[in-house]
Amino acid sequence: MSAVLALLACAAGLLGLGVVGVVGGRGRVGAAVVYLGSATVCALAAVSAIGVLLGGEPVSEVVLPIGLPWLGAHFRIDALSALFVVLVDVGGAAAAVYGLGHGRHEGHPRRVLPFFPAFLAAMHLVLLADDAFTFLFCWELMSLVSWALVMAHHQQGDNTRAGYVYLLMAGFGTLALLLALALLAGSEGGYAFADMRAVEPAPHVAALVVVLVLVGAGSKAGLLPLHVWLPLAHPAAPSHVSALMSGVMTKVAVYGFVRIVLDLLATPPWWAGLAVLLLGAVTAVVGVLHALMERDIKRMLAYSTIENVGIVFVGVGLALAFDAHGMGAAAALALTAALLHAANHSWFKSLLFLGAGAVLVATGERDMDAQGGLIHRMPVTAFTFLVGCAAISALPPLNGFASEWLLFQAVLQSPQIEQWGLRILVPGVGGLLALAAALAAACFVRAFGVVFLGRPRTPAAMRAAEVDRASLAAMVALVVLCVLAGIVPGVLIDALAPVTSALLDARLPTQAALGWLTVVPIAEGRSSYNGLLVFVFIAVSAWLTVRVVHRLASDRLRRGPAWDCGFPDASPLTQYASGSFAQPIRRVFGTTVFAARETVEMPPPGDGRAARHRVTLLDPAWRWIYDPITAAVAGASLRLNAMQFLTIRRYLGMVFLALVGLLLVIAIWR
């Protein structure tokens, strides 16, 4: 059986599990069947896809007689699809194993169980689709199923609004993609992707396609300013679904962008790289600043997803820019960095969302300021979350660093670009990337410090207990993946080579041929990095130090009350919390980006009321774009309301006028 048929069978199996979820979703056995089944199918699909990616199996395709009658449904798997199928499957398997334990805390399992495997199936199908109709149908299926999952807890808080905004933005995004693919198909209607690759669209059409794909795929991925739905919708879903949406679905959006712009569009316009680069860099910085201001742990993670999507798009933008200037090796480096970061992000962000879900189960609160000291009561979760925080903060020798290091190496290739706009822009983009990385470290020190360290701030945090074994197993597996990907990134870089070869006709040097598992992106003299050696160095020197100090100096230890400069403070509320920790950064960056304002209301002496400290932040996207649009729509519909109560004579008059108007248009058109 060819790989594409095997993967289609896996997708069908997942859809079947969705039916099981409808039928048997009430009992425990049904849930176990759905989650275990999903994990197994994902594992099988991953094996099949890895075979395509590494084994260099030929590109296989199939046309099924479903869908549009004259078109059929085309499916195809090549290196690019295979890579993203692997990402979906790894994230999906981890989420499914986690769901095995986490799902027991679900109040209404039938609102989750049918949609969870269906969501995975839809993502597989998007990656396999090979014609415009199938692609858009599956894309929309993915959006709708995930919308259903977002609405699973619709009674809670703001979740209905989250679902509403998500539905609007998803529809808008799909509309943009629809128009883009229609432009590519041309008037002949060559809807199969193979036909689109064959024709070279006119420059203005290509330009329009890039803009539309940037809107369509960018809104799904969370690019500024189309990101507004993401921090609402991702946290609203159950935690293992949040992990899928943030860790995996945003990657499917990246796939959509890469597939259309780098593969289907033969020659993207020269400014495409510039636009993507700038958008990505701004997204990264604004996303992480938002994350730093957020109190809700899951929303914080969702904003951090926006940041990482920005980083991925910077890599894609650089690849476009290099490719447009015929610098194949540099373009391959940038695209490899982007894809590697996409993979790394899908792992550590899934890990972090699963950890946040464990915290939510243990204390019942998403508010970081209601936690504290969980490292004592949830040691394994704390450890896995710590590894996730270190990886996302790009600390060596973990995986986040490896991909950001590659990206910086790609940035350093850019002075050879001829074009002036790019040359002036790229150093700024490099600076913004570094800023985003440093802010991300601050953000995750804050998250881990406030949630897991210190003293418990609420009775719930004091009573928290470690979560079940299935959840822990999923998190530990992702930790292993993050560490391995960090210390031997060369293996992953080699696995990405078929993708860059197919898209850009260029690849990085084979890393496996180098000794000691070193990573050398361009040439040995320019730059090299060895995660394994750095890891071994740190581990050995730390271990030696501990041995020497304990042996030769002292190993005595006494417990006593905290010193705290002689102020033994009574209340755990005097600890730094999320808001106070972010205050210095809010004062430095927030005043410009969010128009942050702090007001202190101090009642006069003798007045018994409590003093208040209030911080107001304005989200620039809502303030400058969405609020004006919603106000305009609301105003227009209020005006149009009057049209409901006209006499029949006036309605007929309007019909007549419309007819005359249309005829006039036709007459002028001809």
């Binding site: 190496q409 050696l533 010193w563």
Partner: protein, 322 residues
């Protein structure tokens, strides 16, 4: 496996380097303190005082806060190990360290970032407000200082065509570097970042124990005994690292090239010590002649470094000869 004589020499050079930075680091701190004291017309403690402090701290027992977690006990060793590895990869007296290919300048910066990440977590662990204030200010300073440092690295890498520190140092020693505006900007930015990263005046005062003005000291307030010794040693190593970085890149003369004989290495060692002494004197002079700034003026200070770094990189993008 046959091991050639060259490999043995290379490994020995690397080993000597690791030992050398460890031995010299407290001395550098001691010299800076001594010179500062002399400039203020005090006699000051002996330059060996940091060694004595470390020895005493190492012998004392650790008093651990009741709610300290395992992380709190592990962090001093992580911070020390990460800083030590970073310091061992900066060329001091010889270029072409055998393991320099394992980590370029970006990795060295990131290793220091790792140390800072964990130290800030240590500040949060006990759950006191002083730890929190230190950690939150430290990450705020780092969030500007780190991009500034990366931009300095960009400037150096674009001039030398490599992010490998040995290659950069070798390139800077050749005559074809010449005088460049961008390198001047990078030097100023690097020194500003170094001051901020090492908690020196005007950003932070290494000698203060006035709670509301301190950043680094507030974070490590709860540490004692051998844990504190590890953190103090890591701080001294970090100062040495930045000093070596500045003198190694901008005064690269005298370093032994790979495969050179013993005499060249001895000359390299001697020049390195002299260069460090000059750096220590300059630092002490600078610190005595300037006042510490308010904590919310600090972003302006490091922001200037960021802009200088950006300008340096931009100039290189515009023209390779600037």
């Amino acid at each position: 496996m046959a091991v050639s004589a060259e490999t043995v020499v290379d490994l020995m050079v690397q080993g000597v380097q690791m030992a050398l930075v460890l031995v010299l680091a407290p001395l550098l701190t001691g010299v800076v303190r001594k010179v500062k004291a002399r400039l203020l017309r005090r006699r000051g403690p002996s330059v060996l005082q940091p060694y004595r402090d470390l020895a005493r701290l190492l012998r004392k027992e650790v008093v651990l806060a009741e709610n300290a977690s395992w992380l709190f006990r592990v962090i001093p060793y992580i911070v020390f190990a990460a800083t030590w590895v970073a310091a061992a990869l900066v060329p001091t007296f010889a270029r072409g360290l055998v393991f320099s290919w394992a980590a370029d300048l970006l990795v060295i910066i990131a290793l220091l970032g790792t140390a800072r990440f964990f130290l800030a977590l240590a500040g949060m662990d006990i759950g006191t407000s002083f730890g929190g204030i230190g950690a939150s200010r430290e990450v705020m300073i780092a969030s500007v200082a780190e991009p500034a440092m990366i931009l300095v690295v960009f400037t150096l890498a674009l001039v030398a065509g490599s992010t490998q520190l040995s290659t950069v140092a070798a390139h800077m020693a050749t005559a074809d570097v010449g005088l460049r505006v961008s390198l001047g900007l990078a030097l100023v930015a690097l020194i500003m970042v170094a001051l901020a990263e090492n908690a020196r005046i005007p950003v932070d005062n290494p000698a203060t124990h006035l709670e509301l003005t301190m950043v680094h000291e507030a974070m490590v307030l709860e540490y004692s005994g051998r844990h504190l010794a590890m953190i103090e040693l890591a701080a001294a190593l970090k100062l040495l690292l930045y000093a070596s970085l500045v003198v190694g890149v901008f005064l690269p003369w005298g370093m032994a090239s790979p495969g050179a004989g013993l005499a060249a290495h001895l000359v390299g060692g001697a020049t390195y010590v002299v260069k460090l002494a000059v750096a220590a004197f300059a630092l002490a002079l600078f610190e005595t002649s300037i006042a510490k700034m308010r904590v919310f003026r600090v972003p302006d200070f490091i922001g200037a470094a960021l802009m200088l770094g950006l300008l340096g990189t931009l100039l290189l993008f515009v023209s390779r000869s600037l």
